[in-house]
Symmetry: C2
Subunit: 143 residues, 2 copies
Amino acid sequence: MTESEEERFALANDLRLACQRIARRVRFESTSQVAPHQFSVLAHLHHGGAQTPGQLAALDRVSAPSMTRTVNCLEADGLVARVPHPGDGRQVLVELTAAGLAIITRTIASRDTWMAAHLEGLDDDQLSLLRKAADLLLEVSNG
Amino acid sequence: MTESEEERFALANDLRLACQRIARRVRFESTSQVAPHQFSVLAHLHHGGAQTPGQLAALDRVSAPSMTRTVNCLEADGLVARVPHPGDGRQVLVELTAAGLAIITRTIASRDTWMAAHLEGLDDDQLSLLRKAADLLLEVSNG
DNA sequence: TATTGTTATACTCTATAACTATA
DNA sequence: TATAGTTATAGAGTATAACAATA
């Protein structure tokens, strides 16, 4: 392994560790009204619009029956609604209700508030550094 | 809200999102032999050394009986061992075995490999930018 | 016949309450 | 009496297999 490869692995380790820690802290921060697996579905719908149970199950690496159950709970709580699929009678679309959207919005805000609070002590140079890093990391996480 | 505050919140949002995405991708990447909640215990022991079941339960925001069960499974699999607490007969110390350490090491390596692979396309300027950002984020995640 | 989604059943993880051992 | 840990019991989530409806 060359020196630059070692440096890249060290950077990979630190970046991964930092991201995992922040994700963990952020997750514990927002004591949302819904369970994590339920919130995950709301987040997917918020991000990608109405989707079928099958798509949602694939996104969360979960079985179809599990997703059926989760969607049932969310529907009973009025956070999502099932609507007929326009082109295929076998499929169903799950969409976010206003109440579901409100929970998503509130949770995201509380998580961002935590993150913003932890950026308070940084100076302008550090903030602009993180600004560029955030853009890079968003690209990396999409790749 | 001032303009700089808005920028800080926008940065907070992007950083949080990127960290969550990377943490998620990394988690799905390593199909470890042990379940996530079990791996979490191994990671805590790897990071902080031998600890009591009570400490481990607090770290994972989990009840004491749940941690008892998880430690039982890990002990049955030979990944951790219970040893008497030196100073207090009521307490027990959970420590990593060689087999447990091996799983941790292998999983960390596979996660870092994923992260490193996703840094491949970046040039030296971008890598040194992320190097500084990683240090900042590690500080932030400890705060 | 293939596919989407749902029900049936069993297993695992977690929590609260009760119990045991030590301080 | 207080604390650390473990058992007992019940509730919630998930998976595999079987079923219903549509393509």
